[in-house]
Subunit: 591 residues, 2 copies
């Protein structure tokens, strides 16, 4: 039972049969075709030799198949993690050196160990601190940076820069040196890929192809572009006219090697590894969950951490770099009929064959083609409309999202994501530190209590009834003290304060002390504090303290019980009155 | 109106009369007597010359009287801020140098400017991030450190150390050099002060004194100790036998001087100044609020920030160091009958007279007496019982409190308080990231829904009804997704999921996206998602999005409406059944 928990392969593997194998194999062929150009391109984006992309698409897929819980997730290099890898590794080594590759390998190992540890310690909740607007802003900004960084390959110039402004300035300076043939290749491949993405499938279907076959052909667009542009360079000898090509890619098995364990390197990469782990996990688990739900299956997030951790450890020991579940390729895998993680293992075999046999064919592959592949892939990540939707729904979320985008573009991926996380936590605490408080009155003819600002309700001059729409904890404990103190100081006729706790899901130690302080202060001023509608779990904990023994007032089961006990005549009369519409016009109700 | 807001003196000053002045003056005399030895002692604790303590007790009191809103708060040097000052300034300058004093002055100016800015920008809520257990743990640990650091003066040895372990180790090494006469003075003063604190007042009352006079005499214990030990040293010439004395204190007005504006100094003190500001504000405002409530007055926290800010700026320009409202002396001020902040201004006059006339009399004051005064004062801050109470009430709060105490003792005040704040925020997010979720059924014979684990209730096999006891936001958005996915995957008979939102006070953008994802996944699996009892403000915001247009199910006003619509026969039958006690025995109800 416990072994099955940590080795999901024992579960689905026991029932594996020929039909399932056929489905998985078909899906694997399609994913392999899609993954070959992606692997090469994302390795280039990470600043690594192209074969590293293939290495990162073999062992990780097999290990995820053993440890992962998603039936359809396709693991491998992805754009955002490649960018983060380049940013992290670029700080400790120069691109093109063995140290750079070694640092990328160490990053994969650290990330793999962190993910595994988080999984074993059930720390998957840490990923929750990345709010959706922050992650969406981060991915949008990453997409923009990635696309901008690839423009130099499309133009065939040597530009640099560490943030968006620098990249664009450097491009503007060097654009005069652009190689026209490279630019023609880059732009036409990009145009073809955009077209294939949007129009090819409908066109093929219109021509009479079966939708599924049309889909597969459309998804093979990058492979066609790779083949066509490679043939063009080879046939026309364009590499002799300044078109940058991939060149010799060593063919053979991935190198088995022990990653660097240098403590100085590890400590300088630690924060990056953590961010890469969390971003990779968040992206992967949301894809996995979406696909699992379609077939009413389930994934286990903590075991997903272990699966991704094993995949990254595998990448590290076979010369790869950080990997995670990719969105587009997982959807393709699912649509192509993958039924178990074995499809991933079959894909690994496909990539292995490519690494053994295909690399000589890629000698003349133009770098501009890979850059165009990346640009087309990442522009689908850019979702500026999300800013507008977030603005419409929630200002604090919008602020966090905008800050993430601005800081990622201006100061790089790590600054952006850290600022986004910090700001969303701060804004959440700020919002809940000033909760909505309604002063209540009885709706005539009922036992319901509503906000006196919004409804024409019955109150008693010596009883203040308040409902706090938030759990009480340290961030709003003082707010409550201030609020009650102000209300009581403003109205000398008051004798009773009733806090209606129906929306209070928790009272922490700070809030308990605040309630004690409020009670003592009210007592000193000749008033009594009462509570009503306290939830079961909250009451259980209050009973473990002496708060209820000292409380100047009572705890009432319902708000009406409280009102009836403190102002019986008014409550009775209002209860017996005729029920009527008490809502005030909105203008009056506004604060 | 607005001027009165920022200058509360215009409010109470307009109605100031002779009776009030008499009450204030009497209180001021008593507070002055209490404050003189405290000022000297806390200056010594901060590593500053004793007269600096007097300087910090003149201008700040006058400025607080102009800008503060508390009628009874007594401002001046306090133990915890003195310790924090010593820790901060000790990192940039050596004790005893003019640079050290200059840095303490700069710290007061920075803290004053920060407090004022926080007040003008209404940022008082930032103080809320210090939870009560953290602040209580911090003060306990500070009290222990302060007491330990004063033992060397009691023993007359030269010990050092930067944390508790070092201080105690250094004391153990040097205890052989202890000066017996100093130790006798220190121990007997400490014993006398403990005795005076606990027993003197009851004794005097028993002897027939009026309680108020007895109280004043008891409070004057430190002054008596100062006078007696000074006379003893002078009369017996003990300073020639190795007893350390305060020596020559320059008499005169506080020095008016521009504080250092060195940017390097400011940036190295910035974090310390912020922590000192927040800790000082939190302590002061809770004392002020407690005392104000006793007379049904109110304080304005944001204006309190301005009042304390002005006090610290005043301290900086007159050679002082960071100040705030002190607990013990404010209570004395209140009990002695202070009616307005003018009492503070009168106290300032008293301290000014002391600085002008009294300092020659303090030449023979033994340092051990001041150390004993500090020890007796701070040991009342040590509240280890708080740990036990917090443990009983809340494990997360206990963890934050224990971490604060341990890190403050082990690594100093700043590490301790920062770790405490970080940990309490983290634990709050962690707790609310795994909210209580109840699966609901209908209580027969009613329209109430309760937890199926705790009550014997009616459910329908194709309808899952869940109540989430927490606002939905980024930290628990994924939890909800996982929870619904698991529940649905486990039960193939389900056709409807109803989320009862009565405890949901907010749905942020992340949670909205999670709800959309849940809805889409349920739809893909042939289920429908419904909501019930959504609060008005939450509904208002949902209506601004297209979520409700796409929702696969409906939004019901009440949970019963939902159940009745989805399972009419079961709901009708259960509604008409006889009402009975449905609570299950606790053993069965436990998870």
């Amino acid at each position: 039972m416990s072994l099955k928990r940590y080795l999901p392969i024992l579960d689905w593997g026991a029932r594996y049969d020929r039909d399932t194998a056929t489905s998985d194999a078909v899906a694997a062929v399609i994913v392999t075709i899609m993954l070959i150009p992606q692997s090469l391109a994302y390795a280039m984006l990470a600043g690594l030799p192209p074969e590293v992309g293939l290495y990162a698409s073999i062992a990780p897929l097999v290990l995820y198949a053993v440890f992962g819980t998603s039936r359809a997730l396709a693991v491998g290099p992805v754009a955002v993690l490649s960018l983060m890898t380049a940013a992290a590794v670029g700080q400790v080594a120069a691109q093109g050196t063995p140290e750079y590759w070694g640092a990328a390998i160490a990053l994969a190992l650290m990330s793999g160990l962190m993910l595994t540890a988080m999984g074993l310690l059930r720390l998957g909740f840490m990923a929750n601190f990345l709010s959706h607007p922050v992650i969406s802003g981060f991915i949008t900004a990453s997409g923009i940076i990635i696309a901008a960084s690839q423009l130099k390959h499309i133009l065939g110039v040597k530009a640099g820069g560490h943030n968006l402004a620098e990249v664009l300035a450097s491009l503007a300076q060097t654009i005069g040196d652009a190689n026209p043939i490279t630019a023609v290749i880059g732009v036409s491949v990009a145009a073809f890929l955009f077209w294939a993405r949007k129009r090819l499938k409908p066109l093929l279907i219109a021509k009479g192809l079966r939708p599924r076959l049309a889909d597969v052909i459309a998804k093979a667009g990058p492979v066609m572009a790779v083949a066509a542009s490679t043939l063009a360079v080879w046939g026309l000898g364009l590499h002799e006219r300044g078109v940058a090509i991939v060149g010799a890619i060593p063919s053979g098995l991935p190198p088995l090697a022990l990653p660097s364990l240098d403590p100085a390197l590890w400590s300088s990469l630690a924060v990056s590894a953590l961010l890469i782990s969390v971003v990779g996990f968040v992206e992967s688990v949301s894809v996995a969950q979406t696909l699992a739900a379609k077939r009413r299956q389930r994934i286990v997030p903590d075991q997903e951490l272990i699966g991704l951790g094993a995949a990254n450890i595998g990448a590290a020991f076979t010369g790869g770099f950080p990997v995670t579940g990719g969105f587009a390729r997982s959807v393709v895998n699912f649509d192509a009929g993958a039924e178990t993680p074995a499809a991933g293992a079959f894909t690994a075999v496909g990539i292995l064959l490519a690494a053994l046999l295909l690399t000589p064919l890629l000698y003349f592959l133009p770098v501009a083609t890979l850059a165009a592949t990346i640009i087309v892939a990442v522009l689908s990540l850019v979702d500026l409309g999300s800013l507008r939707r977030t603005w419409a729904y929630s200002r604090p979320d919008f602020a966090a999202q905008l800050a993430t985008i601005a800081l990622t573009l201006g100061f790089g991926v790590e600054a952006g994501i850290l600022a986004g996380v910090g700001l969303s936590i701060f804004l959440h605490l700020y919002t809940s530190s000033r909760p909505h408080v309604a002063v209540l009155g009885l709706v005539p003819g009922s036992e319901h209590f509503r906000n006196i600002r919004r409804h024409d309700v019955v109150t008693a001059p010596h009883v203040l009834m308040m409902r706090i729409d938030e759990s009480l904890y340290f961030a709003n404990a003082r707010f409550l003290e201030d609020h009650v103190a102000d209300a009581v100081a403003a109205d000398p006729a008051l004798r009773h304060v009733v806090l209606m706790c129906s929306a209070v899901n928790e009272i922490d130690a700070s809030a308990l002390e605040s309630l004690e302080a409020i009670d003592q202060r009210l007592k000193a001023a000749g008033l009594r504090l009462h509570l009503s509608e306290v939830k079961g779990p909250v009451m259980d904990r209050l009973k473990r303290t002496d708060f209820l023994d000292h409380l100047s007032g009572d705890v009432f089961l319902t708000q009406y019980d409280a009102f009836h006990a403190l102002a019986p005549a008014i409550a009775d009369a209002a209860r017996r009155a005729e029920r009527r519409d008490t809502a005030r016009p909105p203008a009056q109700a506004a604060q």
